[in-house]
């Protein structure tokens, strides 16, 4: 037997501990490193309170919809309807406020309730008819696009949008913090408490972690999955409302592109803290990486093509650091 120790390739405990930190906080370290880098590259424009507020304000809508999506993926399903749903909700709220002259709070409540209903439909199709969630939510999303068309005939609703409606998202509140940011913090905070700190949240996590085990242990898996879709649907509705307010119009397909952004945020986030699990805090970090990445590259003035390349690289590197740290630490 050869005497060359196999241990030549072993890592010291210290190295392993350091790698473990990377595994847990890799994405957060990535986010901070990125912010520092951009601050050095564009010292005048990037690291200002104004710019950070703007980035957060801008990202709030994506964060809310991604927060909702997180609940759907935590229970182990995908929700591809959120972008289309948010577009429809934007049209509906504008229509309610402009055409039907509903009071804004009532309109908001109705639209969010509709969002819950869409979630219910998604959840029902997935759990009761047992259609794979990709197909179910893609199908529902396509139907919603059709409904958005039917409602608006494809023409954006613009005229007569009351200023009060615009102020929903343009307004600022305490200490001049934009409403969007406040709403986002409330929504994500609420979701975090729900998932991490309540008994219901335990069931939500259990269903996502191992649905079979959860069922054997007596968790009502279907009900929890439906709940995940309902929350996802409600967050999509809220995002649709805020987007309509921000744009001052209800436009079919205005929010469609949130789908990919939300997915990127959620999956980026899954590399944060816990290995490959979805959670609200991770989604927040993921959304921040995407938002600050976009903003920083822009301010630095990278040409369009390199912006794409760098954005892609940021995604991979942020997760890669965490994943590599983890797999080395666990070797």
């Amino acid at each position: 037997m050869s005497d060359v120790a196999i241990s030549a390739r072993r890592l010291s405990p210290g190295t392993k501990a350091a790698l473990g930190i990377f595994a847990r906080y890799g994405t957060i370290i990535g986010l901070l490193a990125m912010i520092v880098t951009f601050s050095i590259l564009s010292p005048a424009a990037f690291p200002t309170v104004g710019n950070f507020t703007n980035v957060l304000n801008q990202a709030s809508l994506a964060m809310i919809i991604a927060g909702g999506l997180t609940l759907a993926v935590v229970v182990g399903e995908l929700d591809l309807s959120i972008g289309f749903a948010a577009s429809l909700h934007g049209i509906l709220i504008t229509g309610f406020v402009v055409h039907d002259k509903l009071p804004i709070p009532l309109g908001v409540v109705i639209v969010i309730a509709l969002g819950a209903v869409i979630g219910l439909v998604n959840g029902f199709i997935v759990t009761k008819i047992k259609v794979n969630s990709v197909i179910a939510t893609l199908g529902v999303g396509t139907i919603l696009t059709g409904l958005a068309f039917a409602y608006s005939a494809g023409v954006p609703i613009v005229a007569g949008v009351p200023e009060a409606f615009l102020q929903l998202s343009l307004g600022r509140w305490l200490f001049g913090i934009p409403n969007n940011i406040i709403v986002m913090i409330l929504v994500l905070g609420g979701l975090w408490v729900l998932v991490e700190r309540t008994p219901l949240g335990q069931e939500i996590q259990a269903v996502g972690g191992n649905a079979v085990a959860a069922r054997l242990a007596g968790v009502n898996v279907d009900r929890i999955k439906i709940l995940g879709f309902v929350i996802s649907g409600m967050c999509a509705a809220l995002t649709g409302i805020l987007l309509a307010s921000r744009l001052g119009s209800g436009t079919a397909s205005a929010a469609d592109s949130y789908l990919l952004t939300a997915f990127a945020a959620v999956f980026l986030g899954s590399a944060t803290l816990r290995d490959g699990e979805f959670h609200v805090l991770g989604t927040l970090v993921g959304a921040l990486i995407i938002a600050f990445g976009f903003n920083g590259l822009n301010i630095f003035g990278a040409p369009t093509f390199s912006q794409y390349v760098l954005q892609g690289a940021i995604l991979i590197i942020a997760v890669g650091m965490a994943s590599l740290g983890r797999s080395l630490a666990e070797r």
Partner: protein
């Protein structure tokens, strides 16, 4: 099926300008006693080709291609050609077997860019929101480049928006650009190769309470006109898409009647520059533009 069939293939049947063109075309078709079928290709040239082929299968009497350049619908044109069906484009240019075109949006940019440069006194910074994949937008960008090139004291930052996602992109690019272009230092303007990205940018300006930046769009969709009325947008060029659609369908009848004798041609409808000063008068003349 006794009624003649008009097939319309739109790049995005949810986009305001496309919708108005479709409305004009449908109105003319109704007057002619034709039936109209609209297919939304959702931005995909491949879907557009498929839709044109499907119309060829259906033996439609004429096909309108909206916005996809003639160069990207080769397979569709081939199928329509085999079936002897005339294809016209809106904003897709004249070439190959295309029988007629209008809505070639490039020249529409001239009055808007001229106004922008004038208001900037020939110096300052512009954020241009472009979309090169689209033929029309690309032409408009070329127009802007040519005009701005005469003013060396103007710097242009270009950013490509995506479809879908142009509102969000417009807003985010504006955010970043504004961060490095603080108020009061120089003349600032944001230009969208069509209205929607510029409208996204307006959202960002309003969120930040910036009113020192002039915003320009093109197409004159209802939301842009609304923004001009409210003072958030400086100017747009109103494209009379409704009339373009209407005229084109009327011309389709001539094309069919002429048969092999038809000479391909462009039949443009001039655009109207709309600014804060002219918007009220304009809306009186064209109430349909904002309905």
């Amino acid at each position: 099926q006794d009624k003649p069939l008009l097939g319309v293939v739109s790049i995005s049947a949810t986009e305001a300008n496309n919708v108005r063109y479709i409305q004009g075309a449908t109105k003319a078709a109704d007057e002619l006693g034709w039936k109209t079928n609209v297919v939304d290709a959702a931005g995909s040239a491949d879907q557009a080709n498929a839709a044109i082929q499907n119309f060829a299968q259906l033996k439609a009497d004429a096909i309108i291609d909206m916005v996809f350049p003639y160069s990207s619908i080769g397979a569709g044109l081939a199928a329509a050609g085999d079936a002897g069906i005339p294809v016209v484009t809106w904003g897709g240019g004249l070439g190959s077997t295309v029988a007629a075109t209008n809505g070639s949006g490039g020249p529409m940019a001239i009055p808007v860019v001229d106004l922008m440069v004038k208001k900037m006194d020939g110096k300052g910074s512009i954020l241009a929101l472009t979309y090169r994949t689209g033929e029309v937008c690309r032409n408009r960008e070329v127009v802007m480049d040519e005009i701005v090139a005469k003013h060396p004291e103007i710097t242009v930052t270009k950013n490509e928006v995506r479809i879908p996602g142009y509102f969000e992109d417009g807003a985010q690019y504006a955010n970043a650009w504004l961060a490095s272009h603080p108020a009061g230092k120089e003349n600032l303007a944001i230009w969208g190769c069509w209205d929607d990205p510029a409208i996204g940018a307006i959202g960002s300006l309003r969120a930040q309470g910036r009113d020192d930046v002039l915003v320009y769009g093109i197409n004159g969709n209802a939301q842009a006109l609304e923004n001009i009325k409210n003072g958030f947008m400086t100017a747009t060029a109103w494209q009379d898409s409704f009339t373009e659609g209407y005229n084109m369908v009327k011309m389709l009848k001539d094309i069919k009647d002429a048969g092999g004798a038809w000479q391909a041609k462009a039949a443009e409808v001039p655009a109207v520059l709309v600014t804060k000063e002219t918007v009220d008068a304009f809306l009186k003349d064209h109430p349909e533009a904002i309905k």
